[in-house]
Amino acid sequence: MVPIISIKNLTKTYASGFQALKGVNLDIRQGEIFALLGPNGAGKTTLIGIVCGIVRPGEGSITVGGHDIIRDYRAARSLIGLVPQELFTSYFETVSANVAMSRGLFGLAPDPARIEKVLKDLSLWDKKDSPVMTLSGGMKRRVLIAKALAHEPKILFLDEPTAGVDVELRRDMWSQVRRLRDEGVTIILTTHYIEEAEEMADRIGIISKGEIILTEDKAELMRKLGRKEMTLHLKDALATVPAPLAGHRLALANGGRELVFTYDSATERDGIAALFGDLAAAGILLKDVHTRQSSLEEIFVGLLKERS
């Protein structure tokens, strides 16, 4: 299938001389949810800004729905809705005026029914006549989403849509995004929450220091990224890992006072129950247990080390 967005050898050097993108190649498939992950400053917002026409591209080429973003910018931009990372809105205007304006800017005739549906979907309907500045941060974020949806985009960019959004609302947004995908909208989102990518994405791309270092199906990647570590603090120190526990991925640490269990959060959740059963059977007493998941940042560092 022809990719809906195709980015070829894209570079970007800011006026400061800083090279933010170093030859990015990326294809987005029609109808997918693509999560773009990467540490702060990796170039995610820069990349999105270039595709949307906000940042001037360097070398390379980009097509959106087959339209070159420079030569055929009208056709390309008509397809795109953008929810920026920063909370940019006209503070003095009302929510509905803001949302209606976005629709008009894209050349579409006013459609109060559409605006009403968008505002209701985002639980903003009762705020429609409030000036944006009177809204909370999470609500402002939703106004930005409503603005992007007001012009019925085929492609939606969400640059950290859930930063600063509470847990309940985050779940809400996830189901919204899935609903949009079911309606055929292609979605590209960035996030710093690994569970968000895990929950939502069909495919994941990782960008670091201006380079896409991998793109992969989620299931495959989660196996690599989802490694967890559980530390068991023992009541009595051990000299070796007892034979009945040999089947588990265990290592002794801290002079035999800790057992470290590494497991894969996506596929090996059952392993934990089995381990505890075996520990009890072997008569090993625990003082404390704690788990930790490698952060995305660590994973990026790891991936980069692997590559070099």
Partner: protein, 253 residues
């Protein structure tokens, strides 16, 4: 042409003014009234007539032009500086609209506001002085043309400015002095010959002169020269704006 987008952006800009009627209507009415009290009554009682025109009436075109220029510049400069400053410009940059369409909307809105303001001042002055307008058609042409040209200048300033101070710099340092020295309150015939010559280098002289001609049928400089100056200035501003959008200067990183 994305007409709907132009209309949307224009309306959004206009709504901003209409939300603050005090600033857009009340304050020009008050300041115009003050000019009439000070210049019309106090000074006018000594000067009485210039070229057969009552002094109070004589200053009306100058007053209109003074407000037209300063307001066109500050409206347009503010109109584009605000979205740059607050980041909301992203929406215009990512919309399927051409630079020309964006300029028509922004500059059109700024010019409309100052034309309305010019009319408010004209109506206010009717309360103070008798007035007949010899060439009403040309009056409208000159007002609209000046408003549009100086809104373009304001737009350029709003894009160039990197701070609020700079936004105020050009209007205060250049435009206001030029307008005061441009014959708002006197005819340049009244100056010594040397300063008459110097005044001819002040573009505002031409603007005020032709507007005054449309009111009273008498001009300081020829109408053709005035029109040439306005059109030339308009062309320069259009050229600069076209360059800004072609290069993305100060709009895109």
């Amino acid at each position: 042409m994305n007409i709907e987008a132009i209309r949307t952006l224009y309306r959004f800009e206009m709504a901003r003014t209409l939300r603050t009627p005090t600033q857009s209507i009340v304050s020009p009415v008050i300041s115009t009234s003050l000019y009439f009290v000070v210049f019309g009554s106090a000074i006018g009682s000594r000067i009485q007539e210039i070229g057969g025109v009552n002094y109070g009436s004589f200053i009306v075109p100058g007053l209109i032009m003074l407000s037209l220029l300063t307001q066109s510049i500050s409206n347009a400069a503010f109109g584009i500086y605000m979205p740059r400053f607050s980041g909301t410009i992203y929406e215009v940059l990512s919309a399927p609209i051409s630079s020309l369409e964006a300029v028509i909307a922004y500059v059109g809105a700024a010019a409309s506001k100052s034309v309305m303001l010019g009319l408010v001042i004209l109506v206010t002055s009717l309360l103070f002085v008798p007035m007949t307008i010899v060439h009403p058609f040309w009056m409208v042409v000159f007002i609209v043309l000046s408003a549009f040209t100086f809104s373009l200048l304001g737009f350029i300033i709003g894009i160039w400015a990197e701070s609020w101070e700079r936004l105020e710099l050009v209007p205060q340092l250049v435009v206001t002095p030029l307008t005061f020295l441009g014959g708002s309150f006197y005819s340049i015939d009244m100056l010594p010959p040397f300063w008459q010559k110097v005044s001819l280098f002040n573009p505002v002289v031409y603007l005020i002169s032709c507007l005054r001609w449309s009111f009273f049928g008498k001009a300081d400089v020829s109408i053709a020269a005035s029109l040439a100056v306005i059109v030339a200035f308009l062309a320069v501003c259009l050229g600069v704006v076209a360059w800004i959008f072609r290069t993305g200067y100060r709009l895109k990183n």
